[in-house]
Symmetry: C3
């Protein structure tokens, strides 16, 4: 592994911004690596929502420079027998609980080594059973960001908890069942469909594509190239910034208009 | 232009803090300038509210040291024909869409040069039509913060979109129509009236000033020097931190008490 | 005093994240100390809630490395006669209003010197009566973080405003009256009871402890070691990350379930 730390440490948690928990973790990191540069990805993951945290991590980490350490603390099992993990690829390191939240890394990184964090000399002196973000994950991340070798934190393991995202299911020759993965702040519905699912490999991409999405009692037929092409309150489809099909409304919330939820399924027919 | 970057990059967006969008932009900046110091001004501009973003930018940017790059992404027209801009003055650089959000800069900076961002070699390799914050504005800001010359990003232009804030209107010899520009988190109503509008140039400032603001069915006659001078639930006027007249209630929300909204107009009579 | 600054400056305020106030304070700090590293503890202290701010400061500041400057701006008396303060211990410096918010420092730091900030040459040139965070506290913090001697900011004083947190009251040989100090984002009720209050000095800690908390019409008898030991919607007690007894529900809000509020009192009987 050629991982070489750059002192950047990102945080993704469900701690919110009301409490001192995030600040405490930053204090711990800075106490162990004065040169650390902590960057918040989000602290507003819904409480205990492991899948939401994984989606946020998956769509953001690779935009950071090689050598970044990513800490994810959405950890309903803190203090139980679930294992604390360190994962390292050529470009990035990841620290968090073994509850599936880090498992998206295997999809995007070629080589990943996983370590079970057992060496308590790298933790804070007293480890609580309620705040491993402070007592285990922040100190380990700080030390990794300083260049401490991953092997020193515990044994290498392989059998970690994995979360599989729902894949589109084929319902017929031209019909798929898609799933809303996430709803963003603007009310855009981010689905699990990429253009590959809609266009055959020999077809050309884009504008000639015709389909019908059935969602919230509506049929959505239009594919826009930008949000501002949307008319009035009409929902449309658009290829979003994560290369996934989104359902959107121009300057309004598709989630509200269509009363849509994350994990909701919908039919799409290629015309 | 004597602009010399200091590696500080500020962000003002309507992206909120739930989604990974802000974190992704920080990753892009740090990938291109490892020494960048990104500072959040606010990510909680109401969605698509260009005027609110402009007011936040206007009241904050000049407190940063000379050489700071300010990125503003409130961009309902992303992916449409609206132009991406770079503006540079002697002290500050600004990056954002040509929708008026940057136009306040002309009021405060003596010399401003404006460039239309067209040179795609300075963008991310693939430019989406939905997230120019990531694909255009963050990479350009990072390169400006490294010292790349503004001329290299595209042609200089002049005819950018400008937003004019409402000015107080004279209704009679002693009467003005003012406008609430913004309501802050404490419920203070920040108006478009400065003391100059109320005091004649030869009068002395302040305590002898007598006026009557008519708002929400109430008459407000009192001018306080500090919030804590306010009594009970009585609304009062105060010269706020941006040198604009505010309507406030001590330890309570004037916006709630008076059921006031941004853009609402009110009469003020000098007594 | 051996305080030696490390250029880290933390912020704890009730300014929220919608307005530019926090960004402005960061700009002021960076203008005076380009090497400053500003870390947000929380900006979502409830408006004007001095006790909440003190609790957040108390539970977080000591995790930062020695030499950190902590700025706290929850300041309903801004612009009145309340004094602006600088407090310095061997390890940490604190800047904020004399309204009690900094008084927790005396409980945790051995030697503390307190200075009344009077030397206006260290403030911004024009000091408003509504935003001392920008005009006084940020510039003083920046200068302290650069190594300016505390004595230069004003006279040393002793008689500052102190807030005493409620202590558990003994109601009978085995009965105490506790108080909910704070409710965190997960709905955990953080109380003013530590294990010392429940275990006699000669008893061994922990698992044999039996007690009954009476709260919200419920009796809570169970002490869990981790949140995930909680069953269904059953509230339980747990020793939280600040070594205080918390009342929690596994993956749900104890505050909602028990309709509990901060400052609420409850009985606890040791069985």
């Amino acid at each position: 592994l050629s991982f070489a730390p750059n002192s950047i440490v990102t945080f993704t948690t469900d701690f919110g911004l009301d409490d001192p928990y995030v600040g405490i973790m930053k204090g711990v990191v800075l106490s162990l690596n004065r040169a650390a540069h902590v960057v918040d990805i989000s602290h507003r993951i819904p409480a205990h929502d492991i899948v939401a945290a994984m989606l946020v991590l998956r769509s953001s980490y690779s935009y950071f420079p090689a050598g970044t350490v990513h800490v994810v603390v959405v950890d309903p099992g803190v203090g139980s027998r679930r294992r604390p993990l360190l994962m390292v690829s050529d470009k990035h390191a990841f620290v968090g609980p073994d509850n599936g939240v880090l498992s998206c890394v295997f999809q995007k990184e070629r080589t990943v080594r996983v370590f079970h964090l057992t060496e308590e000399r790298h933790f804070l002196k007293i480890v609580s059973s309620t705040f491993h973000g402070r007592d285990i994950f922040a100190p380990v991340a700080a030390q990794i960001s300083c260049g401490t070798s991953p092997e020193l934190f515990g044994p290498e393991i392989e059998d970690i908890v994995r979360i599989e995202l729902p894949l589109p299911r084929r319902l017929g020759p031209n019909k798929l069942l898609g799933t809303i993965l996430r709803i963003d702040k603007f009310g855009n519905l981010i689905t699990n469909l990429s253009l590959d699912h809609l266009v055959g490999p020999r077809q050309s991409e884009g504008s000639n594509l015709r389909f019908k999405v059935s969602l919230g009692g509506r049929n959505i037929l239009r594919l826009c190239q930008s949000y501002s092409e949307g008319m009035g309150e009409e929902p449309f489809a658009i290829l979003g910034s994560a290369d996934l099909l989104e359902i959107s409304v121009n300057q309004a919330s598709a989630a509200e208009l269509l009363e849509a939820q994350a994990t909701q399924e919908f039919e799409i027919e290629v015309l």
